[in-house]
Symmetry: C2
Subunit: 138 residues, 2 copies
DNA sequence: GGATAAAGTAATCAGATTTGTTACATTCAT
DNA sequence: ATGAATGTAACAAATCTGATTACTTTATCC
């Protein structure tokens, strides 16, 4: 399996959404996610660059949602922290002496693009507000 | 990025489709993919279990498509060799003392399911014959 | 029936990636 | 000034993954 940054990010965003206007320090976020504060801070930087949160230094600092949960799609969260492809391509250049090897990379790239777009379309349908709703229900 | 088994599998299946009725040994497949024959053989086992190919031992042995390329979807190839999820979940159990931590795993699982299904739907639309067509065109 | 060529398989290696950790610099409210 | 927080670099540890070696099993052909 792959990295868990998306899961961490959704978790963090959900906690921030519940906190509303209160700043939430990385130490607290780290506790509920059950990881190290530095891991969280690295994540916060990416969420910040994507314009989803802002952070404050100093006492009473921490992270803060910049938008209402209804206005944040899971696609944005995903792209913020996990900009890679859904699956990997050939690690070594395929043989150029084979008609398939010569062109497969380009064809695979097109398949990748379609897969990425399909995934993005689905994540676009879900917002942070939906996640909160599901958390309430169980 | 993740594993490249899907890319390898599509490559292998495309070569087998071009070979038609001829058996193709793992050594030849390994050459065009540019990897080790054992890597290919491990892949062939999975494709075989999925009912997409059959293999023969002994001299003039190798792998052989079981169906026409029009009847093989990329979804089948993907599921055969890459049955995992599109993204990973929390490596460590989230805190049960936080209302989010207590339920996030289940919610993430639902998100995963939707993402997996969306990906599968897209891959279902493409067949091995489509791949061959694109390989011919460039 | 022996030689040969292939798949099947187990064990291991090497490299890359990723998460977690420590330490420290920087910022800012009080 | 102090203290609490982020930002950040460096590194440790674990995991994953592709590649490799070596061997067994199976089947074909002479």
């Amino acid at each position: 399996m792959q990295n868990c940054r998306f899961a961490f990010a959704v978790h963090v965003m959900a906690v921030l959404a519940l906190e509303r206007a209160d700043c939430c320090p990385s130490s607290r976020l780290a506790q509920t996610v059950n990881t190290n504060p530095v891991v969280i801070r690295r994540l916060l930087i990416e969420l910040q660059e994507a314009g989803l949160i802002s952070t404050l230094r100093g006492p009473h600092g921490g992270a803060l949602l910049k938008r209402k949960p209804e206005k944040v799609t899971l696609r944005e969260i995903h792209q913020a922290v996990d900009q890679g492809d859904t699956f990997a391509t050939h690690p070594n250049e395929p043989s150029s002496e084979c008609p398939v090897g010569r062109k497969i990379t380009k064809v695979m790239q097109r398949i990748q693009d379609r897969a990425n777009r399909a995934l993005a379309r689905e994540l676009e349908k879900m917002t942070l507000a939906d996640v909160l709703r599901e958390l309430r229900r169980g």
